[in-house]
């Protein structure tokens, strides 16, 4: 078995459809500019359409065009939102595939670094079991909210960004970047479960969040250990984590901004061992990107153009 695999080699059964990762990368770099957002999403329209075909996102694409993904990711989860059920299913599915990739990332850390200290292997082995349980938990929670695995396209962006060939960067990316994002998302999901009196969801995700804190701590310890006595290596690992954090902010959707869909879980992150300095950095680097007003304006234009194109294709007046 070879060391290091590409994200495209992640194995899935026939229920799953993959989504190109380029869009996720581009989203993390989008400016707060309606025209630019429209331009980028129009460029990616064929790719987005292709990934939705045969999934439950197909109807959303047909109705909203390429901007459906933009709105789905960037809007906060509110019980009063008329589209909350769809939004909840999409977010839950995103978490589910995120857990799958976290499981695969932890597993590959066991295989890719055979000479790593035994204690590192023990931590990664424990993480494999935890992430496997998380996949099982979120498969049940998908069912709980009326969704199922493979219902929406899967981006392997998380695995691609986080799985470096360098062990210090791998743990910085997977255990601090990806698991840190999980802390933010799960804190927000617990907030949603509290607002909807969903005790089952709240309790399950609270347990998962507790595991994630442990995984972040593993990351903090092993970044230090793998870069011990090599400040330049430590700084490169930190730079890598910053880059991953920037990518995982999805153009400000996960940030400290007032209009963020997923707020940074500052208290939870402190408990997990993130320093004040790291949290301040995260707040700054995730704050860029289009505001919700920009996104809504761009989404409106994209939807109108999409409808016009469909009408033109069908030969009817736009």
């Amino acid at each position: 078995m070879k060391r290091f695999i590409d994200h495209q080699e992640l194995a899935r059964d026939s229920r799953f459809v993959r989504q190109e990762n380029t869009l996720s990368t581009v989203m993390s770099e989008l400016p707060d500019d309606v025209d630019k957002v429209v331009e980028v999403f129009e460029a990616f329209d064929p790719m987005i359409e292709k990934a939705t075909r045969g999934t439950s996102a197909e109807a959303l694409y047909d109705e909203y065009g390429p901007s459906f993904a933009l709105v789905a990711v960037n809007d906060p989860l509110k019980p009063t939102d008329s589209a909350v059920k769809t939004r909840l299913m999409m977010r839950m599915h995103g978490i589910f595939v995120g857990e799958l990739q976290a499981l695969e990332g932890a597993g590959r850390s066991l295989w890719d670094f055979p000479d790593a200290p035994w204690e590192f292997k023990m931590n990664m082995a424990r993480q494999c079991w935890d992430e496997a349980r998380h996949v099982q938990i979120f498969e049940k929670l998908l069912d709980h909210v009326g969704a199922k695995p493979g219902m929406y396209p899967e981006s392997t962006f998380l695995f691609e960004c986080a799985c470096s060939d360098d062990p210090a960067m791998r743990v910085a990316g997977v255990n601090r970047g990806l698991e840190g994002l999980a802390c933010d998302v799960f804190r927000d999901m617990i907030r949603y479960a509290e607002e909807t009196d969903d005790e089952k969801m709240k309790q399950a995700i609270d347990y998962v969040l507790a595991d994630e804190l442990t995984h972040v701590r593993f990351g903090s310890e092993w970044v230090r250990e793998f870069t011990k006595g090599d400040p330049e290596h430590y700084e490169r690992a930190q730079d890598f984590r910053r880059q991953v954090d920037k990518q995982f902010s999805f153009g400000g959707s996960r940030s400290d901004r007032e209009d963020a869909a997923i707020p940074i879980a500052t208290e939870v992150r402190k408990e997990a061992g993130f320093t004040e300095e790291e949290l301040s950095e995260l707040s700054t680097l995730s704050a860029d990107g289009p505001s919700r007003v920009t996104i809504k304006a761009a989404a409106k234009i994209l939807r109108e153009r999409h409808k016009a194109r469909v009408a033109a294709r069908e030969g009817a007046p736009a």
Binding site: A11, G107, A125, C128
Partner: protein
């Protein structure tokens, strides 16, 4: 009380306690005999061999997770990985107790190059269409072999002197039995056509032959065994 009870012995011959004498053979009756098949050094070597296997099983299952498309197999392996790592960890902790050093780098040792090659052979199937080959090598051949050798070791080692090794092998064996049963369930489901059943049979035959050729986990398995 007619006679004064003496709680502690004194220095005179009439100053013994009044407690009745029992030997180690009396209550409860201990029929275990001293002396096993392995001295301290031989047990330490076996423990290093066992640990090598659990360490590599942990690593190979971790590597496989990404290339297995069946979700219940991916998630099921998660627990096997953790339990295999725990077994390796416990075996590693036993080594300093056997005067075999505290360096984790030397805590694992393949019995011979043939066995090291066998482990890489079992880890080898990589592409997503090879779950049957992955699990057959591990759950149908290697794990049952470990159970068999652990049972022999537990039976043949000194039952009193080496009881800590027996304890940890007993725990590892119990978990391995569960892993083998899980693997059998999964493989029975996956092998639902003659072609797939043939693949399982062929893989079992190949890995078993390689296992016999190298003498197994301890390197001393007779070529015509099991």
């Amino acid at each position: 009380m007619s006679e004064e009870q003496r709680m502690y012995p004194g220095i005179g011959r009439d100053e013994r306690t009044t407690f009745a004498p029992y030997s180690a053979f009396d209550i409860p009756e201990d029929l275990r005999e001293l002396h096993g098949q392995y001295d301290v050094a031989a047990t330490a070597k076996r423990v290093r061999n066992f640990r090598y296997t659990h360490e590599w099983m942990t690593m190979m299952m971790g590597g496989w997770l990404a290339t297995i498309p069946e979700l219940p197999v991916k998630t099921g392996l998660g627990k096997l990985i953790w339990e295999s790592a725990q077994a390796a960890d416990e075996l590693g902790k036993r080594l300093p107790e056997l005067r075999a050093g505290r360096n984790p780098a030397t805590a694992s040792q393949a019995s011979n190059q043939g066995y090291a090659d066998l482990i890489q052979n079992i880890a080898g199937p990589e592409s997503p269409d090879r779950t049957i080959e992955k699990l057959t090598g591990l759950c149908d051949v290697l794990m049952p072999h470990l159970i068999e050798v652990y049972e022999v070791t537990m039976r043949e080692t000194d039952q009193i002197c080496d009881a800590p090794t027996i304890e940890l092998l007993d725990d590892a064996t119990r978990k391995l039995r569960r892993h083998v049963a899980w693997g059998k369930d999964v493989l029975d489901r996956l092998c639902d056509t003659d072609g797939r059943r043939d693949r399982r049979v062929a893989r079992t035959r190949d890995v078993t032959a390689a296992l016999r050729a190298c003498g197994g986990v301890t390197g001393d398995l007779p070529a015509d065994a099991g």
